[in-house]
Amino acid sequence: MSETTADTPSFHVAGLVPTGPKLVTGRFDVEDGHTYDGFVRTGGYAALRKALTSMSAQQVHDEVRTSEMQGRGGAGFPAGVKWGFLPPDVYPRYIVVNGDESEPGTYKDRMLMELDPHQLIEGVLLACYAVGAAQAFLYVRGEMPLAQERIATALNDAYAHNLVGANILGTDFSTDIQLSWGAGAYIVGEETALIESLEGERGMPRLKPPFFPAAKGLYMQPTIVNNVESLANLPWIINESGQAFHDLASPTSTGMRMFAVSGHVNNPGVFEVPNGTTTFRMLVEAPEYCGGVRDGRRVKAFVPGGASAIWFFEEHLDLPLDKATVDQAGSMLGSGAIVIMDDTTDMVAACWRIVRFFARESCGKCTPCREGTTWLERILKRIIDGHGRPDDLGTLLAVCESISPGLAWPPRQTTICPLGPSAVSPIASAIVRFRDEFDHYIEHGRPIDGVHRHAIHGTGAHV
């Protein structure tokens, strides 16, 4: 793909880093962008007005279809196509907004909710109009009170200005938006678990089939679940057209997209970049983005799309942020979360930490995930605590197999939902590439030389 090395990235030649308009982050610098006045002053609610006064629901849907915008929540399924799965003539229908952002490394939806709540509300209204939803539920992660507060304020203002509720803008279109919030459970980000939670239940996923939300979702009625960023793009699409969105970036990953780059980089941050054409390397190294790896070190591994993703390594840096390409390369862009690990990273500890996340967040509904993820976590913890056993790696892989037979990508699963197999990703990634680090831990009870040892409880490094 690229001959360049880290020392001489070709894009450092001015102009080679692709740029584009800010579709959803445009108001982040506007001090009062989150208020009703600030929003309207900067062109807000124009798309809603346009849609309600000059477009049919079908036309709105068609624009979104034309845009080929892929969902930003993780699965990357085109929103326009998903809306098309709603069975005709079955009402009421609901829109559910997934603002539960909890995938490790992911930081974008919170910004969109805190800094531009009206944009999200406008997007939700457009979606409701397009699919004929009777009510929308905006489910914000429980641990985000500022986002909840800003959305509550925005909703109260929007209702006061007749932008939500009965006969919006004097038309015969009526719909309500209800702000809801969670209470601390990652799995509730999974759409069917989110629906359960909205019904006041334990957030445990439903089986698909038969419970695809579009067919049998909230209260067993047709339901569309969309991510916050997905919906926040709708005002731009309606204002500028679906084709304009489609033409912004690569044909296989359209539009602009937000990526959060964290970990060992000089300037971690959240960037809205042209989808599909920007490369990982550009994000990491270009001065307008992260400005390189900390202390000029090398990338040892990186997470390309949230903790559930299979890890990438140095050789993947030049891949473009394009769904098809990344899928092909054996991982995923997921939720747009990139975590860079430099060559001082203790890969076993990194692997353990991600597995611990899934073990703690397993809902417990199905056996392989409930028992398997915990088991994996225990073994890994024992290893970093210095009590590894020679057959641990074999057991780790065997348990992984029981959760995700064949350790294939995309994963096969014995579980109900993809959370269980997500715990397998870091292990499958790390054991293959850094087996020596595991062996060293098991043999010596400590990491290899030259990596940073974290002060993790229970390990020798914590006092």
Partner: protein
């Protein structure tokens, strides 16, 4: 069949899985299964088991793979062809792959799936491979509907490896206490570990620890270390019983089954959870550590605690009854039992059992030989006949025994010539209700409209409550309830009409005039469930309301909600009074007035059974002689001159008839206590003592060598029982329906006078747990009776100036009872409700059987 699999049959739904499962889908599962089928048609078969939604596999979205339309055919064809492990099988559409496999000898291990509950696909043990467009896919067979041409493999390496993997994970945290576990030996997890397990466990980490068993109710203990979180008990509590008192709590690896901290799992159906638990996590206090499964012997039988007729197996070890388990009878109980029926076997083993016959001497009742006792009894009968004739003898009871018992006693009554006989003691309805066009339980539970005109079924016929609740919950039926108090089914009723005690006819009239209710009753089939709602009210109001309903809805069928175990059998087989003026109440009245000299109590205890306790007392005092045939010393047996020791449930064989008229077999499982004999034998021996030609040759009881001969005699003699032959009973596991002998219902006019100075109307009805011997003599159940109380509306309490819990005097025309007042917002104003037969303040003394309704005054105790 090995021992362990034999036992598993009982412990689990295996009892159904064998064959009744074929019909099972008609009930609960059908809805679920078709839903699944429809969805599969709409969505993709490809996603499950392979698609990650994170990975963006597009097939994970509905419609994406509509190309594969094979599922669509499921809806149209009458049977489908499914290939299982190479064999071809015809399967009904709507079934699940797991059902198709189990029905066709391809065993699929499973834990969470249960044929009578919705599929949840949680344990993941039932993975099989189904051929898909992209080759074989692992699917959970309990959530996958069958489709035509489907190719299922249950034994490939992939399937085996996955099943082993899941099993290893299930066992990872499971304690190694099988040797001390009640379930050991009949444990699906243990069995599976043997047959499908990986052998050695690689789990070296510390196992989950919880406090070992904690009581979650008076009857059930929970060991969370053993629990595999299959959701069976919690699903049962929610879907089947409607008592959502146990729930999953916490999350992930900390998930556990728990009650709310303040609220135990006080469900009338809690024992079912113990039965369906696939491990030893839930155990029942009455059975705990009593036996090992391999020591248990069992026989199929029917529960006669009430007249629903749930099928059971009764199990014993060393000749002691130890456990009853529900058997899935499709038309009746679907495998469920209520706790009273399940645990009252303890009363059979009670130390209060009457083991030997007794006669009264100057020293009181003393044990004697059968010969002497029977002679004594025969003498009493003969003397009474000689002194005053057969009109001075009453034979009461028979509803607690078998068909054969009742028939033999009815024959004896015929031979003696007494007109006074009744299997009810003023606590039921006129036997004529049995002559109306009878509905089966299935018909009721599938009717468009179920009209309830009777008692709280949850308290009196608990498993009928489950069936009707299911009908309403699954939207098959709408319930229209007429009741003076809130009942267990009120929550599920489409309309619940509250009326003052005694005014049901007017309430029915108003309802019939209501447009919506009228339209509902006019469209579709209607079943009226009729019984005795209020023991402080005569039967007139109910019978006249029934008459009004039948006149307005001529096609309505009737399901009699009479309670005592074999009351329908007894009444049908000759223990019904010829006319109302010779029924149980009439007999007691006559005895109280000196018109009857001898009362024969066949398993009847008027002092506790008759609503009007004062009448019962006067009757037993008025009759000079009492013969009691009973199993346990009751207050009535204590007054008897001769006590004939009767065999109890489990100690004798025979048949019984449930409310539908369904006749099933009862099994003898243990050796009878002492020298007790079955009632039928006592009747025949008494008959023989009374005179050679009483049961002479040619008489149906002329040549009885065993109980089977009486079963034959019934089939030969009793209209309606002609089809109930032993051959038919052997062939039909679910029993044989006896025919209905039509009678005309003369609906009495019902009128009640004003209340005068008695400003409260009394309502007395039964709770599941009371002081009836079967309950009171069962150690585990004895303490569950709520105890005496007077429930009043809080505003009535306020106006009386009485606080919740204060004692009040309930003053009737005949007597006064002192009861603790309970503020209960579900009670109508102007009504006082009290539970029946709870001891203590004796509301039964206040009930006046001769009044249309008992009115009372409430006085504050200063």
């Amino acid at each position: 069949m090995s021992d362990s699999t034999k036992n598993e049959q009982v412990a689990d739904e295996q009892t159904t899985a064998a064959e009744p499962v074929a019909e099972a889908t008609e009930g609960t599962d059908e809805n679920v299964a078709t839903e699944v089928a429809e969805d599969a048609a709409a969505v993709i078969p490809a996603a499950e088991g392979s698609a990650s939604d994170e990975a963006g596999v597009e097939a994970d979205q509905p419609g994406a793979a509509e190309t594969d339309s094979e599922a669509e055919t499921t809806v149209t064809t009458s049977t489908l062809t499914v290939h299982i492990d190479g064999g071809e099988h015809e399967v009904e559409p709507g079934k699940l792959v797991i059902e198709a496999c189990l029905d066709n000898d391809a065993y699929v291990p499973h834990f969470c799936w249960h044929p009578r509950m919705s599929s949840v696909g949680m344990c993941r043990q039932c993975l099989v491979e189904v051929e898909g467009p992209r080759g074989p896919m692992l699917v959970v067979s309990c959530m996958t509907p069958v489709s035509d041409g489907q190719i299922v493999s249950t034994k490939t390496d992939t399937v085996k490896r996955s099943q082993e993997g899941v099993l290893e994970l299930l066992l990872a945290n499971h304690p190694l206490d099988c040797p001390v576990c009640d379930k050991g030996g009949e444990c699906p997890l243990q069995d599976q570990a043997f047959s499908h397990g990986p052998g050695e466990s690689r789990y070296v980490e510390e196992k989950r620890h919880y406090e070992k068993p904690i009581p979650i109710s008076d009857l059930v203990l929970l060991d969370r270390e053993r629990c595999i979180l299959c959701d069976r008990c919690t699903r049962f509590a929610d879907e089947v019983a409607g008592d959502k008192l146990i729930q999953f709590t916490s999350r992930g690896n900390d998930t556990q089954v728990m009650t709310f901290p303040d609220e135990p799992f006080a469900s009338y159906f809690s024992g079912n959870t113990v039965q369906i638990c696939p491990v030893g996590a839930l155990t029942a206090t009455p059975y705990r550590f009593k036996a090992r499964p391999w020591d248990l012997e069992q026989r199929e039988s029917t529960c006669t605690t009430c007249s629903v007729g749930c099928r059971t197996v009764i199990q014993s070890s060393r000749d002691e009854l130890l456990r009853y388990q529900g058997v899935d009878s499709d038309p009746v109980n679907w495998g469920w039992l209520c706790d009273r029926g399940r645990f009252n076997f303890e009363s059979v083993n009670s130390e209060h059992r009457i083991a030997e016959p007794m006669v009264r001497t100057d020293a009181g009742l003393i044990e004697t030989s059968w010969n002497a006792a029977l002679k004594g009894a025969a003498t009493l009968i003969r003397d009474t006949l000689a002194d005053g004739g057969p009109e001075r003898i009453a034979i009461l009871g028979g509803a607690r025994g078998t068909n054969e018992d009742a028939f033999a006693w009815a024959q004896l009554a015929d031979a003696i010539g007494t007109p006074f006989r009744d299997a009810q003691l003023g606590d039921g309805l006129p036997a004529t209700v049995l002559g109306l066009d009878r509905a089966t339980i299935d018909e009721a539970a599938n009717a468009s409209t179920i009209v309830l005109l009777g008692p709280d079924l949850k308290e009196e016929l608990p498993v009928l409550y489950l069936r009707l609740r299911d009908a309403a919950e699954k939207r098959r039926s709408r319930i229209v309830e007429f009741s003076a108090v809130e009942t267990g089914l009120t929550r599920y009723a489409w309309k619940s009409v509250r009326h003052q005690p005694g005014t049901q006819t007017a309430a029915v009239g108003d309802a019939l005039a209501d447009e919506e209710i009228g339209a509902q009753l006019a469209g579709g089939d209607v079943v009226v469930v009729v019984g005795r709602a209020n023991l402080a009210e005569s039967t007139h109001a109910t019978m006249s309301a029934l008459g009004a309903l039948r006149a307005a809805v001529p096609g309505a069928k009737v399901l009699p909600a009479l309670r005592r175990g074999n009351v329908v059998g007894a009444l049908s087989l000759g223990m019904a009074p010829a006319a109302a003026d010779h029924d149980g109440l009439a007999a007691l009245n006559a005895a109280a007035d000196g018109g009857i000299d001898l009362i024969v109590l066949v398993g009847a205890d008027p002092l506790n059974d008759c609503p009007d306790a004062d009448l019962a007392r006067r009757a037993l005092a008025g009759a000079r002689r009492i013969i009691s045939i009973d199993t346990i010393t009751t207050e009535s047996t204590k007054l008897a001159d001769v006590v004939l020791a009767a065999a109890a449930y489990g100690e004798k064989a025979g048949t019984t008839t449930n409310i539908e008229g369904r006749v099933t077999r009862l099994a003898q499982k243990v050796t009878p206590t002492g020298t007790v004999r079955p009632d039928w034998m006592i009747a025949i021996e008494l008959g023989q003592m009374l005179g050679d030609n009483l049961f002479g040759p040619g008489h149906p009881l002329g040549r009885v060598a065993g109980v089977d001969d009486i079963t034959d005699a019934i089939a030969g003699q009793v209209v309606g029982y002609a089809g109930v032959t032993r051959e038919a009973l052997d062939a039909e596991r679910d029993g044989v329906l006896a025919g209905v002998v039509a009678t005309e219902l003369e609906a009495p006019a019902s009128s009640i006078a004003g209340r005068n100075s008695y400003d409260y109307r009394l309502m007395v009805s039964r709770k599941l747990y009371d002081r009836a011997v079967g309950t009171a003599m069962s150690r585990s159940l004895a303490n569950l009776a709520p105890g005496p109380a007077a429930h009043l509306h809080p505003l009535d309490l306020d106006s009386l100036g009485v606080a919740d819990g204060d004692d009040v005097k309930i003053v009737g025309a005949k007597a006064t009872a002192v009861l603790a007042a309970v503020a209960d917002a579900s009670i109508q104003r102007g009504v006082v409700w009290a539970p029946f037969n709870q001891g203590g303040g004796r509301i039964e003394d206040v009930i006046d059987a001769s009044a249309p309704v008992t009115d009372v005054r409430i006085e504050v105790i200063q």
